[in-house]
């Protein structure tokens, strides 16, 4: 039997993709599998792929002794609150830069875009000193304040808001609707998809962030998951199974969120990457 050329390239590409997918997913599969092993089971040769007697021992230890539930809730609070703030500030500003005329608009927007070349770490030491002066070091507000508004978020919303028909806004204005009312009943409904995109982006960025919370949070009780995980992994170097269970607790929520909302996430990534 002979296959036509497109079928053969298709089969070869599918096999190639399958191989890469195995490499991409294997570490995550291994994490889940080892998290269900008995303590010490993974440190054997040859390394076992599946748990002999699947157990939740590690998860129990993690929640009862390592208090991972607390870090989970900390992460959840910080990420959710940052998402709400980011949605409020970036969406109003993004709309204004797209559809409202005001003095200095283009200049401010261009200056904002210029800040994109500056890495965030340059700002971090003075920001830390500022927060220290106003007593926000070691608080969650301190952790999330850099995420409350950002050039990227404003740009994302602006690009999307440009497609709202100006006539619609003008017509409402002619009928005497207030600016706030126009925003609430015309602009916000047509921005729904980008709200989901920006919300997902912010939540994932804050949940995964490490450098900034590592600097700001000094009290162990306030750690977010990544900071707690880094500290745990230094104390429990030998406890592979326990560490894999804590990795599962950290990664599972973002994976689920991404799989549910990936359409919005990918679109945001594509709009955002045209910024250059």
């Amino acid at each position: 039997m002979r296959f036509s050329a497109p079928t053969r390239t298709g089969a070869a590409a599918t096999i190639g993709l399958f191989t890469i997918a195995v490499i991409a997913l294997f570490p995550l599969f291994w994490m889940l599998s080892v998290s269900l092993m008995l303590p010490g089971e993974a440190s054997n040769f040859p390394p076992p792929l599946l748990p002999k007697y699947p157990t939740l021992t590690n998860y129990r230890a993690l929640f009862e002794q390592a208090h991972i539930g607390r870090y989970f809730i900390n992460s959840l609070i910080v990420s959710s609150f940052a998402t709400v703030l980011s949605l409020s500030f970036n969406v109003t500003a993004g709309y204004a830069f797209a559809k409202l005329d005001f003095k200095g608009r283009d200049l401010v927007f261009r200056l904002m875009l210029a800040t994109l070349v500056i890495p965030a770490q340059v700002a971090m030491i003075p920001l830390f000193l500022m927060l220290k002066t106003i007593g926000l070091v070691n608080t969650w507000i301190g952790v999330l304040i850099p995420f409350a508004a950002g050039t990227f978020g404003i740009f994302l919303v602006r690009q999307y808001a440009l497609s709202i028909p100006t006539e619609m806004i003008e017509a409402a204005r002619m009928e005497g609707a207030s600016e706030l009312r126009i925003f609430r009943s015309i602009v916000l409904p047509s921005l729904t998809p980008v709200l989901v995109t920006l919300g997902t982006f912010t939540f994932l960025a804050v949940w995964n962030d490490f450098f900034w919370p590592l600097i700001v949070l000094t009290d162990e009780h306030k750690y977010t998951l990544p900071v707690a995980l880094a500290a745990l992994s230094r104390q429990h170097v030998q406890d592979v199974e326990l560490m894999m269970a804590s990795a599962v607790v950290t990664i599972a929520p973002v994976l689920v969120l991404f799989i549910a909302l990936q359409r919005f996430y990918i679109r945001g990534l594509l709009i955002g990457s045209v910024k250059g």
């Binding site: 971090m124 995980l229 880094a230």
Partner: protein, 293 residues
């Protein structure tokens, strides 16, 4: 005028947050880098002294700083192109018309990107374990010798590069895939009629069509890779023998371990200058190549 006021009410809060919590600190960072800001100044600002460029001069004379810079450049120069090559390969496969299950593969290949960096770094630390790690198990099964990935200074940075490639290639893959899909089908048609094979189609249609996207991806990747920190922090703590100490790691230790905030700010600024220089170089090379064709 009433409109202008309303508009500023919408734009103002967001712009103000960026100004106060980003622009102002960046400006302040330069000022701090010209002082001897340390733990005494942290306790009482009266102890703060202006030292001009002394922090910069001291850094340039410190071997550890050069070590960190060289490590970071190694990571950027090898890890960046390797990641982009992996992204391009995956994007080309996903763009193959006759390939199956493409939606599933796209999600699977992107999954590492959204995972928490610290958590997957912890996973990889165990996968790279000399005796019980899956990586060495696979290597020895294939007849290769065992490698002490995170304990041997010659292999620690390659290990981190492999990990970073795994973690990040999905991101550029999505952008490059969009770039590939934007190349008009007729161009491939025309090339085929002219008798161009797969390779020549790739060299004469795909690559030129993808050049702007590749440039963008190159800049984004370079900027991201200069900020290497969490990988060595979790996997090697900068070791062994400082072989994975990055510029940002050095800045973190200067600032928050030794509280030399003046010196740390100078490090941050030098990092920024290096990123700008490399970006300009990329722009220059792209212009040259664009001008030649």
């Amino acid at each position: 005028m009433r409109h202008s006021l309303a508009a500023w009410a919408f734009a103002g809060p967001g712009v103000a947050i960026i100004a106060v919590f980003f622009v102002l600190p960046v400006a302040a960072a330069f000022a701090v880098s010209l002082t001897d800001f340390d733990i005494y100044a942290l306790a009482d600002l009266k102890n703060l002294r202006f030292v001009g460029l002394r922090n910069y001069i001291e850094l340039v004379q410190a071997p550890l700083f050069w070590r960190a810079l060289a490590n970071t450049l190694y990571f950027v120069a090898i890890g960046g192109p390797l990641s982009i090559a992996a992204s391009l390969g995956a994007a080309l496969l996903l763009n193959t018309q006759a390939a199956r299950f493409k939606a599933f593969f796209r999600t699977a290949l992107f999954a590492p990107v959204i995972t928490t960096l610290v958590a997957v770094a912890v996973i990889w630390r165990y996968l790279l374990h000399t005796r019980y790690g899956m990586v060495n198990f696979s290597l020895t099964s294939l007849g290769f010798p065992q490698v002490d990935w995170l304990g041997d200074p010659h292999f620690s940075m390659p290990a981190i590069i492999l990990f970073a490639t795994w973690k990040n290639f999905g991101y550029n893959m999505i952008i490059l895939l969009a770039g590939l899909q934007a190349i008009p089908k007729e161009l491939y048609e025309a090339a085929r009629i002219d008798g161009a094979g797969n390779f020549r189609q790739f060299a004469h249609v795909t690559l030129p069509g993808l050049a702007p996207t590749l440039f963008l991806v190159g800049i984004l990747t370079m900027a991201g890779y200069f900020q290497l920190f969490a990988e060595p922090y979790v996997m090697t703590q900068g070791g062994p023998v400082q072989s994975t100490l990055s510029v940002l790691y050095l800045m973190y230790e200067q600032a928050f371990k030794w509280w030399s905030l003046g010196s740390a700010s100078a490090i941050a600024f030098i990092l920024f200058l290096f990123m700008l220089a490399v970006a300009s170089l990329q722009l220059l090379v792209t212009r040259r190549m664009g001008g030649a064709t």
